[in-house]
């Protein structure tokens, strides 16, 4: 075999090896808040339930990315008014829903514990829906109450 032919063959094999071994392994995900969890006007002593199926009042987040993720929600135990009064709020195992973006396939998840969510590559992303229960006391001071709800999404295995 000539030297020239050897060098050409060598270059081809190096390129092939590089292509086979250099496939990117980085998983990327973005989270966008879409809608607040809105209990609206509540009466003292009367619970107000917002199911995750309530499109007008549930919390919504958009996940952009595909793969397997660990989803964690940092949930408050109360909302607070400007005057410092507290209004208890509760989240249950049935208050979480994941909806794939393209097909619209939905399934429930427990928002009170870290959950594993799979978003197939053909879906491109998903929405996270969250419901909850406001539980005002019979002598709940009137006012506007607020709390924050944070969603964290981590690619599985990290």
């Amino acid at each position: 075999m000539s030297t020239h032919r050897c060098l050409a063959l060598l270059a081809a094999r190096c390129v092939l090896v590089t292509l086979l071994l250099a496939a990117p392994a980085e998983a990327q995900v973005s989270v966008f808040p879409v809608q607040d969890l809105t209990f609206g006007q509540v009466q003292p002593g009367v619970q107000e339930d917002v199911p995750a199926t309530d499109a007008q009042r549930r919390a919504e987040y958009e996940i952009r990315g595909t793969g397997v993720f660990q989803v964690s929600l940092f949930l408050p135990s109360q909302m607070t008014s400007v005057g410092g009064a507290s209004l208890p709020v509760r989240f249950d195992s049935g208050d979480g829903v994941v909806r794939w973006r393209r097909t619209g396939i939905s399934f429930a998840f427990d928002p009170t514990v870290p959950s594993t969510v799979w978003v197939p590559f053909w879906e491109g992303g998903a929405r996270i829906y969250l419901g909850g229960l406001a539980n005002p006391d019979a002598t709940q001071p009137p006012g506007h109450y607020v709390a924050t709800v944070t969603l964290q999404v981590v690619p599985a295995g990290t």
């Binding site: 060598l10 094999r13 190096c14 090896v17 590089t18 071994l21 250099a22 990117p24 392994a25 980085e26 998983a27 990327q28 995900v29 973005s30 989270v31 966008f32 808040p33 879409v34 809608q35 607040d36 969890l37 209990f39 609206g40 006007q41 509540v42 009466q43 003292p44 107000e48 919390a59 919504e60 987040y61 990315g65 408050p76 909302m79 008014s81 009064a85 209004l87 709020v89 909850g132 406001a134 005002p136 006391d137 002598t139 709940q140 001071p141 009137p142 006012g143 506007h144 109450y145 607020v146 709390a147 924050t148 709800v149 944070t150 969603l151 964290q152 999404v153 981590v154 690619p155 990290t158």
Partner: protein
Amino acid sequence: MKNLLNTVIVAAGIAALPTVAQAQSASGTVDATATVLAYLDVQNVADLDFGSLSAGSGATVTPGTIPGSGTLGVLQIDHNSEVSVSVALPAGLAHSGSGPDLPVSFECGYSAAQSGALDGPAVGCSSLGNRTTSAGDGSTETSYIQVGGLIAGAATTDRLPGTYSGTLTFTVNSVY
């Protein structure tokens, strides 16, 4: 040559191994909100009555006191938050038949009881300030507005005899 070729290929393969990329996490935050409505109820307890006046005689009904004649008007407010009060006052009391109105001025004051001492001074009813709750914990409290006023003696001179009346309209709003 062949051995050198294989050796070079292995070295190139090792050199081409990518470094392990770190996966990225992300988070987002929304609010949870609720508005608790205030409780508010307003009732008329008593009308303001200046009584019977002789021509040329005036009448005064003073909030926070027990009138010698006539009766205080009283409004009851049940509330669990601060309230604001506005009043639409008649310019005068209208005769039941015909004739000019009887001039009158009004005074108002807050109290914790239907009669007796006021919580603060009596003021023109249009200048009544907000009424707060003492507890501030959402429990319902009862407040009263005592309504009095003044008819000057000169106003009843050469005045058509009869019954004169008017309406004071109080608008109470919860503030929170």
